[in-house]
Symmetry: C2
Subunit: 203 residues, 2 copies
DNA sequence: AATGAGGGATGACAAATGTCATCGGGGGGC
DNA sequence: GCCCCCCGATGACATTTGTCATCCCTCATT
């Protein structure tokens, strides 16, 4: 009896290619392919899937939230996250959301099927390098609002823009940015944004 | 007689998956897989490949430069660029570098093999949406130095940092940044960076 | 009841940034 | 020769940021 797999990735080419790669395995059957996170939980239920392979970065519902939705809708379905960026914060948050595995996209292709099997058996699969980084990196030091403001700042607008989009006073925005810079260690607003992004503290 | 194909993409998973996907086609044979751009031209020559499929974003030698190298080393080998981001500037630069096709990673998977065949036959394959954008977007308005300075600014450092890394005076840096902001239409240094990146004017 | 942390705001001040005029040198085009 | 554009720099100036102290309110902890 083969493993019933659902794949969600926003890049159609990658999605299709992964399906082709895993479809070559005798014990794996790809039962659904999705382009965003919104329909994943429903698809898992509909096809009574055993494993869901989710990209973290997706339009609509992001992979982490989708993972949580899958766990809620079908607790017996395991979740394997696949991501482009090895952001330490992503790993931690994915695990908290109930994922069983976390793989970055530059791991060798042959290990992927093995990861799916391991996850299906109830084992955990985690990139060891990333796991180590995740431990050193720690949780986000940013408070919720600080994160929101920093995210609002991430497209390069002025303080006035950020204030408008967050419904805050300009002074307050500057205070939060200042706090975020202090906590991230960035010497500039832009640097703070980059550091927070690299660590997976935004989103 | 099958099409001899070389694949270069920095994400091993994607690379392997693409190879698996295209390997399913009877008329395509994947003769080499590379993780960066440096060895592509040599691999093409060694395996006397017919088509090279290159990612634009790669460590070491980027895809555009690699395309030029392939054209120089083996003029009979066609180049098909595959990229995550549909930056208008990339398309133009890829074509100037001698690429025959340009595909974004969220085109349907089944069209990929067809694109490889078309390119092999000497036809050009270009995403029509991207082609239109490329025409409206136009060339980079930035001068060479402006681009360099803007790129140096893209990791969020201060003017002093940029001045140090570019060996320019701080005043000069600010002048270039000011010019870059005017030309991109950005109201902030960070915004100018974002706009330039989105258009494929950096790199 | 007291404490502390976070949300939200104001005002003041120093430093960084963005703008502009101006200068000189070098090259390409008419 | 002249004009225009790019490179590189300087100095002055207005704005924007970043920093800090201080205030009030709420909620959870002790």
């Amino acid at each position: 009896m083969s493993i019933r797999l659902v794949i969600a990735d926003d890049q159609a080419l990658v999605r299709g290619a992964l399906a082709a790669l895993l479809g070559l395995e005798q014990d794996i059957e790809v039962v659904a392919e999705l382009g965003d996170g919104t329909g994943v939980a429903a698809a898992v239920v509909e096809h009574s899937a055993d494993v869901a392979m989710l990209d973290v970065e997706m339009p609509g519902l992001d992979g982490i939230s989708a993972a949580a939705a899958v766990r809620r809708a079908a607790p017996s379905c395991r979740v394997l996250m696949v991501t482009t960026f090895g952001r330490p914060g992503y790993l931690k948050r994915a695990m908290q959301a109930g994922a069983s595995g976390f793989v970055v996209k530059d791991t060798p292709a042959r290990q992927l099927a093995e990861a799916v099997r391991r996850v299906h058996q109830g084992l955990r699969v985690v990139d060891p390098v990333l796991a180590a980084e995740s431990l050193t990196a720690g949780d986000s030091p940013l408070t919720e609002r600080e994160g929101e403001v920093l995210k609002a700042a991430s497209d390069g607008g002025t303080v006035a823009d950020i204030a408008k989009s967050t419904m805050l006073s300009e002074g307050t925005v500057r205070n939060y940015l200042s706090a975020a810079m202090a906590k991230t260690g960035g010497r500039t607003r832009a640097e703070a944004v980059r550091i927070a992004e690299d660590n997976g503290w935004l989103l």
